[in-house]
């Protein structure tokens, strides 16, 4: 039996030599009972080619490529209970929040400048702060100029779906080939608890009728896009006690209608955000609840687990935001050679692809036999299964363990078992707020980090200081700096093997919290 390393989607162009060097190939389309073969491995080649350098659609690509959102679309045509239309905030990091609203002209200028400064950029999305399709002129003017001036940048749009059917043709004309629809329910009874009203045909419609119309429009838009070959991702906000169980049904329905990826995100609801759910004290899901639901949906649908729920004006790699250093004011002062910038992007992307290919070739050859994993800890002939373990990883990207523990603002969480290494999510250390270390509560940064890593038994980083080392160990989390600059999945597998060899994985699963991300 072999321990297979999963979590990487297959190459777009690299699979030419008869098959697939990717470690993720060979999986059944929808994965094992616990559901998580590489999320994109079964997709047709054409689809994989479209997403393989898209950080928001491909877990592997998000280690390498950057994206940006431009906030050109302020108005919205519905109300969601998790959203507050007062979107102007510099410190909050969540969807629907921006610092500065841009005109389409400013947005185009900003995209070209950012793409020149961050050559890893492949994707431009319009995601608000309102609904992009409730501001069709501003959104389409931005897309129209960009498809002419930076044809190498992929254009994406994110919508609540209400105005989608009437704009599908227009989106196709502007080369938009990735659309995200936020679908929180397919049942008006559930929807009415999330959407108090919609603006429809020049009237405000409330209650069940509103949810009914919205759901109908979303499903119609999804089908129309799928028929035209546009890739559709569905976002759902998991709201405990409202749509948590129902999202399994949503997953089935949207898959049947042609969505290729489902992204179940946790509700963000804090009173200080001023949202209805925040003020009313609606709770968000725990790490456990989210993962259990994602795993349940994964039986039917490709699940996305690396979403960072970024701002509607985020700039850079997922999980980072360089919006401040690339503000409109600074961009106005820059001198940029656009043609040269596009050529530089081409070269940078080629270099990234070469390094991904090299990593894949290496990883593809690494199969770790289970006999090795069992190793010294196993005595006698009994076939003792080693239990799975959560491992946290500090990384700045490129799929490598390359970040100092103390610099990590988030950790990627992998589950290693005797079967596979799979990516199951990320945890932010300073969630939603980039204010000071002593923001609100008297908890040190280290204590907060350790709380974030609850349930993990090891943390891999490039380096770690003496003091946090001791504190982590005392908390039952083994720090490990031995795999600095190594590919993540292989290192996690190796650490799992070491733990098994030391006999640390023989004990039965004692704490059910342990398996949560």
């Amino acid at each position: 039996m072999e321990l297979k390393i999963l979590g990487q989607d297959a190459p777009g162009g690299g699979a030419a030599e008869g098959g697939c060097s990717s470690s993720s190939c060979g999986g059944s389309p929808h994965g094992s009972p616990n559901g998580n073969k590489s999320p994109l491995s079964h997709l047709p080649e054409a689809v994989r080619a479209k997403v393989h350098n898209h950080p928001c659609y491909s877990e592997e690509a998000h280690h390498h490529y950057a994206r940006m959102h431009v906030a050109v679309a302020p108005a919205c045509n519905i109300q969601c209970h998790y959203c507050n239309r007062k979107y102007d905030c510099a410190n909050e990091s969540r969807p629907g929040v921006v610092s500065e609203l841009l005109t389409p002209d400013q947005a185009v200028k900003k995209v070209l400048a950012v793409a020149a400064n961050i050559p890893q950029m492949t994707v431009l999305g319009i995601a608000g702060p309102g609904d992009p399709l409730a501001n069709p002129e501003r959104t389409l003017a931005t897309f129209c100029a960009l498809s002419a001036k930076a044809p190498d940048i992929k254009l994406c749009v994110s919508t609540n779906g209400l105005a989608l059917p009437e704009l599908v043709e227009e989106l196709c004309r502007h080369n938009v080939d990735h659309v995200t629809i936020t679908i929180n329910s397919v049942d008006p009874e559930v929807g009415a608890k999330i959407y108090p009203w919609i603006f429809w045909k020049n009237r405000r419609i409330k209650g069940l009728k509103a949810a009914e119309i919205l759901i109908e429009q979303q499903q119609k838009g999804l089908q129309m896009l799928a028929e035209r070959g546009v890739l559709v991702k569905v976002n759902s906000v998991m709201i405990p006690g409202v749509n948590d169980e129902h999202l399994k049904e949503v997953s089935k329905v949207v898959k049947a209608k042609g969505a290729f990826l489902h992204n179940v995100m946790p509700l963000i609801a804090k009173a200080e955000h001023g949202t209805f759910f925040g003020i009313m004290g609606q709770r968000g899901p725990t790490h456990t609840e989210l993962q259990v639901l994602q795993d349940a949906c994964a039986g039917d649908m490709n699940m996305m687990r690396h979403c960072r729920q970024c701002r509607a004006d985020a700039v850079g790699m997922l999980g980072e935001d360089r919006g401040d250093e690339l503000s409109m004011e600074r961009i106005e002062a820059m001198q940029i050679d656009y043609k040269k910038a596009m050529e530089e992007r081409r070269q940078v992307h080629a270099a990234i692809e070469a390094s991904r290919q090299a990593q894949r070739t290496k990883t593809g050859a690494t199969f770790i036999s289970l006999s090795q994993v069992k190793g010294a800890g196993i005595k006698g002939a009994g076939r003792k299964e080693t239990r799975p373990v959560l491992v946290a990883v500090a990384t700045t990207g490129q799929g490598l363990i390359n970040q100092h523990f103390g610099h990590a603002r988030e950790f990627l969480i992998y589950e290693a078992s005797s079967q596979e290494v799979r990516f199951i999510g990320h945890r932010k250390v300073d969630l939603y707020c980039s204010g000071g270390d002593t923001c609100g509560e008297a908890e040190t940064a280290l204590e907060r980090t350790i709380r974030t890593l609850e349930g993990c038994e090891a943390v891999l980083c490039s380096k770690i200081g003496f003091e946090p080392w001791g504190v982590l160990e005392a908390a039952g989390i083994q720090p490990n700096g031995e795999y600095a600059m190594e590919p993540i999945e292989e290192a996690v597998a190796a650490v799992y093997r070491e733990m098994a060899a030391e006999g640390r994985l023989d004990a039965p699963v004692a704490d059910k919290q342990r398996l949560t991300a």
């Binding site: 108005a75 501001n135 020049n202 709201i239 009313m280 004290g281």
Partner: protein, 99 residues
């Protein structure tokens, strides 16, 4: 006859493109006057008479109480947009917090 937008407007822009009379505008910031919010030009506002059955700005505005009719009455009174009238607030809170 004209509507008024008062303090509390969050500048979400939803109303501006919907006005059939282009009566809604965002004034330039005045020194020392704080951040301006959208206003309605009372000379051009028709309350949508002749264009729409319902006033467009008040039908898309997400904030309760910030658009007033010509007699100063809120077009979207408390509870009208959340779906929770003030009298049912305690019950709704208890229900939501039990989730």
């Amino acid at each position: 006859m004209a509507f008024t937008i008062i303090d509390g407007c969050v500048n979400c822009w939803a109303c501006e493109p919907r006005c059939p009379s282009q009566a809604i505008y965002l004034p330039a910031a005045a020194a020392g006057a704080g951040k301006p919010h959208f206003l309605i030009d009372n000379r051009t506002c028709t309350e949508c008479a002749g264009d729409h059955a319902e006033p467009q700005c008040a039908s898309i505005c997400p904030i309760e109480g910030v658009i007033l009719d010509s007699s100063g009455v809120p077009l979207n009174p408390p509870g009208s947009l959340t779906g929770i009238p003030p009298g049912r607030m305690a019950v709704a809170l208890a229900e939501i917090q039990a989730r």
